[in-house]
Symmetry: C2
Subunit: 138 residues, 2 copies
């Protein structure tokens, strides 16, 4: 395996949200993003055992509408901000467009759906991983 | 595009660390993990512009030695702990083995290397994304 080997991700679920367009999405989760439902693929149901209403979790998503060739951006896409490397920003356009969202679980429903808030991800965004927030991180 | 479409990751760099084996790695970054160097692929150099010594960053890695079929684990791999879904743990074995590491940048060297601490990732682990820590998260 050499250093350019690509790795393949499998979506484990999908976002259902009222956010339909990138222009509707706030820049950060804390800026007025809505509640959303995460639909988990049924084959992964055993993997959410231990997540409860009230849990703080980190959702990793695949920002499928992003431009993967962008290496620098004007932060918040404001041309008045000087160009900055995408790894020093949370811009969705980046070589591997992974979204990182800290959310709270509000409700768990059958068959496998998690209601979370706040989430700035667009409707249809694939979810690729879920992790607990570690107390030592905060 | 349907819900099972796989997505392909490109490594943007690689970890150089004294941690050679999974048994050497502490379970969490804060438990005595060492310093490490992140070697960034030269083509992505423009993307780190804005990262400075002292910056707090989130490294996303691809835990390439993980088992992707594991859905439940005994937390910390201690058989005395009841089984739990991997999405409720930080276990490296999971459907998409993405590692999430909050580290501080200690030094930036030529051509493109970042010295960071603490990092529990094994030597050779691919790095797939870098994000700034947001002040609102802490």
């Amino acid at each position: 395996m050499n250093s350019t080997t690509p790795y393949s991700l499998r979506p484990i679920g999908r976002v259902h949200s009222q956010l339909a367009d990138r222009k509707d999405a706030p820049d950060q989760g804390s800026e007025g993003a809505p509640e959303a439902w995460i639909e988990i693929r049924e084959e992964f149901k055993p993997a959410i055992d231990g997540i409860m209403a009230g849990s703080e979790i980190i959702l990793l998503t695949w920002l499928h509408r992003s431009d993967r060739n962008t290496l620098q951006v004007h932060p918040r896409y404001n041309p008045g901000n000087p160009l900055k490397g995408v790894f020093a920003t949370r811009a969705p356009d980046r070589p591997n467009p992974i979204g990182l969202h800290r959310v709270q679980v509000l409700e768990i429903a059958e068959p496998v759906r998690l209601k979370v808030s706040p989430l700035e991800a667009l409707d249809g965004t694939p979810v690729i991983d879920i992790k607990p927030v570690l107390s030592g991180e905060h």
